[in-house]
Amino acid sequence: MFTKETLERVAERHQEWEKLLAKSLAKAPERLERFSTVSDEEIKNIYTPEDVGELDYDKDLGFPGQFPYTRGVQASMHRGRLWTMRQFAGMGGAEETNARFHYLMDHGETGLSTAFDMPTLMGYDSDNSMSLGEVGKCGVAIDTLADMEILFEGIPMDKVTTSMTINPPAAILLAMYIATAEKKGVSRDKIGGTIQNDMLKEFIAQKTFMLPPEPSMRIIVDTVEFCTKEVPRWNSISISGYHIREAGSTAVQELAFTIADGIGYVQACVDRGLDVDDFAPRLSYFFNAHVDFFEEVAKYRAARRMWARIMRDRFGAKNPKSLLLRFHTQTAGCSLTAQQPYNNVVRTSFQALSSVLGGTQSLHTNSLDETLSLPTEHAVTIALRTQQIIGEEIGVTNTIDPLAGSYFIESLTNEMESKALDYIHKIDDMGGILKAIDVGFPQKEIADAAYNYQRQIDEGEKTIVGVNKYQMDETLKVDLLTIDPVVEKRQHKRLAKVKETRDAAKVEACLKAIEDASRGTENLMPHLIEAVKAYVSVQEICDCWRKVYGRYTDPGMF
């Protein structure tokens, strides 16, 4: 970026400044012995052209929409269209969640995002003993297509895109979404949205797992193959770093393990015989926006550059769309505090800003009460307004990638990339991400980082306002959302009625077809769509898979 002469002159000036600084520090030392990011990466007192002397604008940055996409995946970025404001929502039954969807859309939200309850996420129906006390608690309960039809009542499925955070039963929920749309006369090539469908990060971090890794991967590849052919606007996997970070990883680990997962999925699809340029354009990413502002901006920029290079050089992708790392962001739930909860609005704002400056395509801002319960309508409105203020009020979207060229940001971007690549090489040497998960490598790295961070908090090395510094006796209380126990009863009743009125012989035939396809190699998706249309339940299909493939249980390392 700089001529040799400039760099020499800068080095001279730098030395002069060091002397000046030494004098000043002799009088008053710095506030801290060591300055570091929330991920414990040491940060220098100043960054200069010396730190980015090797940076090549053409090769390493380019323009938005141009290789290597460091500055953004679209040419016009947020000047063309703001990111999709997509608030994750789901609570109680389909009725309550449908009402929340309508509320959010009436207030300017531009895309839907569905949270399911734990039983649905784990492949159990509401009437199972494992579901006791959990129905509708942290998301919406979906047992059969009857619930899904209520959930999307009045939603124009040809216009609104929907993200569904679902993993082991992702293929089933996608089948239900297709079936619901088709019942409304919207064909499957017209619907758009995302299923998370990222089991690798479940084994690594979020731990919503059901089947062992190999069959989990097989079902994922089935969905990718099917969507490529029949649901062209669907993002078949949302490769997620969010949960890796929430589990306590550093920013570099989030970046590294998420991209390593991405490599794992692309490889599995290529191994199935799919052409990388047919499916890669529909892979999307999902990152966390944590509290360390610049580190986060650097992370998103590094992620785009890494993915573009990996897709081109490692997988030989030729379609420019295959090289784009498009991503959704959620602000860091784990950064919110139960103490002085209104401070969470401030935290969330800065986090959201980092993702916007980092070029996100879609964003969920957490509500101030989410460390205590699911958000109330009041709290979620503030969270949505935060995005609207960033997008339309404070001027940060006037120009694209405004932090580019900052010595610090560019240097940090390089550093994130290089440290994440070290991890990826290590994982390659282990034989790939499945092998690494099998020996517990990413799990152990994350647990170590989480423990280190907690120790830093406990010892006051890192500050959390209101928690380990500036505490106060609190009288201020926030209203919390509670889930009416009637939801569980209503869910039992509806499921019983569906089971009574559906065609039992058809259900049996569908389950037999799924079992046969699961044992063989035929794509499961057409069978799943047929089954959900016959009102076969989530658990009935998952039980069939558990029978064929066995279960994955937590190794319980700590």
Binding site: M118, S129, G133, E134, I457, P555, F558
Partner: protein
């Protein structure tokens, strides 16, 4: 009783997969000199109580971050009573709204640690209350 002899079961009841807190507590207690058994995820209350009895633990710590604590925590205490093992105290942690805490205490949970509690708070509580 010295620390070395206190045996703690850290348990994750229900379908919730958030294990960051449970693992940090497990490791923190181990580093503080306790003997720690961790159940791993997705345990039923029945499984947790069976493990506690089989491992002959002195105290059980249960963690929940997905909203099912009002059913799962008291159920564990109930089962301990049924099995005649209610001399094993139970403490809880996780996303627990403040209003739920007195209800849990009344149901026999001895202490509840919410987000932001330092690990030492749990360590000290065990030292003071388990003997």
């Amino acid at each position: 009783m010295s620390d070395e002899k206190i045996k703690v079961l850290i348990a994750k009841p229900g379908l919730d997969g958030h294990d960051r807190g449970a693992k940090i507590i497990a490791r923190g207690l181990r580093d503080a000199g306790f003997e720690v058994v961790y159940t791993g995820l997705h345990q039923t209350p029945e499984e947790i109580v069976a493990t506690a009895i089989q491992e002959d633990v002195d105290v059980i710590g249960v963690s929940s971050l997905a909203g099912a604590h009002m059913y799962l925590f008291p159920r564990i205490v109930e089962l301990l009573v049924e099995k005649g093992a209610d001399d094993i105290p139970v403490f809880g942690g996780g996303i627990i709204p403040e209003d739920d805490i007195p209800v849990l205490i009344k149901a026999g949970i001895k202490a509840v640690f919410t987000p932001g509690s330092p690990v030492d708070e749990t360590i000290n509580w065990i030292r003071e209350n388990v003997a």
